[in-house]
């Protein structure tokens, strides 16, 4: 069995909920795992602590309509990636993974800023990547976000007419 298949078999054995096709190997060294919110933390922890996925490359946030999707891109030293996907209804919060990966804070701040995600347990810290004067409640990566020219926004805030 390849390294990729070994991980898949282990997960399916340990988490029966994942056995029905929730795990897909798109190719060698690429696993895609769809988990529910209920078991996400356990699956994640198992991958990190027991199966050697000690590199959290990044967290991709996705606008999926009523939900936000989060893909945690984990990698092991042998090159296998476990991309763990979990969904969360907009307005609800997910839990930070900084207890396992202190370096994850910046990726969590990124999904907060760009998609309006809420991450519980993320300590205080500067936002990333948007500037301080970015309008409240505007999350540019949301599909229905309407872009205004930056000049228009600051001008409007000052009460000037926007420059053409």
């Amino acid at each position: 069995m390849s390294a990729t298949e070994t991980v898949k078999a282990d997960l399916e054995a340990r988490f029966p909920a994942l056995a029905g096709g929730a795990i897909r190997a798109s190719r060698e060294r690429r696993l895609w795992i769809e988990t529910s919110r209920e078991i996400f933390a356990d699956v994640f922890r198992h991958l990190v602590k027991d199966l050697g996925f000690t590199n959290l490359c990044t967290i991709t946030g996705l606008d999926e309509g009523a939900d936000l999707g989060f893909i945690y891109h984990l990698a092991a030293d042998n090159g296998v990636m476990a991309n763990v996907k979990v969904r969360c209804p907009k307005g609800q919060s997910i839990r930070t993974v900084t207890e396992l990966f202190p370096g994850a804070a910046i990726y969590e701040r990124e999904v907060e800023d760009l998609l309006g995600a809420q991450v519980d347990g993320l300590g205080p810290g500067p936002r990333y990547p948007l500037p301080d004067d970015w309008p409240q409640g505007e999350h540019p990566l949301l599909k229905d976000w309407k872009q205004k020219k930056p000049a228009d926004e600051t001008a409007a805030a000052k009460g000037d007419t926007p420059r053409e």
């Binding site: 490359c57 990044t58 991709t60 891109h73 090159g79 370096g103 994850a104 500067p126 990547p129």
Partner: protein, 408 residues
């Protein structure tokens, strides 16, 4: 009162602290040492991921290529690899060889650039002049091979847009031979020039544990003994068909990061020679559909700075559903505060420079609090303070003479 305490009390330079713009680094000083640093990023945020959704895959190639002007090929290739995987394309081997040759040439110019920048930060401008003159050899070669010094426009979905001709092969080998000689000289310099070791050793220390938990990548991580390199661990391009060493160091400091990059230069020359020797014949392109099928892929690439990660999702149209980029500098940025802690303010510029940051750090404002006062300093001011600090301790690069290489 010692000289550097006096320096701290000199009135602030031209940019007044009441400038109201966000400082990038907030430094708490205890005497001359850094107690803690808080860092703020986002100056370079342009909105590229959103832009990718609004443009076609082909247009996105040109956008993504310009995320960073040093490792532009890294981003272009990481992106195109993900798209090609979603589309199920099999890329011709010759195209993969060409991509890998250009990838290593980019690593070479980037590491030489870094060597010069590091030299500049410690007051060793001669090193900047010499390494950047050496680097010009690669820039000229890249322009000959691809049509541009930077932003090569070489990749397309399905392969590369230009082939390497038989006539170009000797030029490639000539540059590699020349730069290998220069690199061996710089390695000798690092080993024998005591001022370099004094300035760079035990500076910006990052333990292996911290490197792992904070997610450091690339030479920054490898200098802390983390044996990870995407080219070996998760091969792409033609890396599966060449043999090379992953260079690590155990010193966990800026000197280690220097040694790792120098070692990687030597490996790059070796890789290029193998690729040039074994490059297969054949096409360099396969036809790609305009509409990329629904699907997703994550592509990883070992950029000069470290692991570069691109996630792409297609939705069956000409435009991507989502493009996510994690550049290596963002990963390394999380470790910088740790590296600066308990070090001298004078070392701040070289420690940050040593992660080879892919943001323009020279325009950043630095807020420094300590000795009961606070002030804003420009990057240049902290740099100059650092050079003076070490000159006062007998570490002065203005005396160091370098051996010249051939003119470009």
């Amino acid at each position: 009162m010692s000289d550097h305490e006096k320096i701290m009390q000199v009135p602030v330079g031209p940019q007044h602290p009441a400038l109201k713009e966000p400082e990038s680094f907030m430094v708490d000083l205890r005497g001359e040492k850094i107690d803690a640093v808080r860092m703020r990023f986002g100056y370079n945020h342009r909105g590229i991921e959103k832009g990718c959704e609004q443009r076609s895959f082909t247009q996105d190639l040109y956008l993504v290529e310009r995320i960073c002007g040093i490792c532009s090929y890294a981003h272009s290739t990481a992106f195109v690899q993900a798209v090609e995987e979603i589309a199920g394309l099999e890329i011709p081997r010759r195209a993969l060889y060409i991509r890998t040759i250009v990838a290593e040439l980019e690593r070479i110019h980037s590491h030489l650039l870094w060597l010069g920048v590091a030299g500049h930060e410690i007051g060793f401008d001669t090193l900047l002049m010499y390494t950047w003159r050496d680097r010009e050899q690669v820039m000229i070669l890249l322009a000959q091979l691809t049509g541009n010094r930077v932003n090569y426009g070489l990749n397309t979905i399905g392969g590369v847009r230009r082939d390497i001709t038989a006539e170009q092969i000797p030029s490639i080998l000539k540059v590699v031979d020349l730069l290998e000689e220069r690199t061996k000289y710089y390695i000798e310099l690092a080993q024998t020039e005591e001022t370099l070791r004094q300035r760079l050793a035990n500076v910006g220390v990052l333990t292996r544990e911290d490197a792992l938990s904070l997610g450091a990548v690339g030479p920054t991580a490898r200098a802390s003994g983390v044996d990870r390199d995407t080219r070996r661990d998760d091969p792409y391009g033609a890396y599966g068909e060449v043999s090379f060493k992953v260079v690590t160091a155990q010193s966990c400091d800026v000197f280690g990061r220097t040694v790792v990059r120098l070692g990687e230069l030597l490996e790059a020359y070796a890789i290029i020679r193998q690729l040039v020797k074994n490059i297969p014949d054949g096409p360099v392109l396969v036809k790609a559909p305009r509409r990329i099928p629904a699907g997703e892929a994550v592509s990883r690439y070992e950029a000069p700075r470290g692991e570069d990660v691109h996630y792409v999702r297609g939705n069956g149209t000409e435009k991507p559903e989502r493009v996510k980029v994690r550049a290596p500098t963002l990963a390394n940025s999380q470790a910088v505060a740790k590296m600066l802690e308990d070090g001298y303010l004078a070392d701040l510029p070289i420690v940050i420079a040593a992660i080879d940051p892919c943001f323009s750090c020279t325009d950043r404002m630095i807020a420094v609090k300590g000795n009961g006062e606070s002030r804003a300093m420009t990057w240049d001011e902290v740099s100059r303070y650092g050079v003076q600090f070490y000159k006062a301790r007998g570490i002065d690069f203005s005396r160091v003479r370098l051996r010249e290489g051939p003119a470009a």
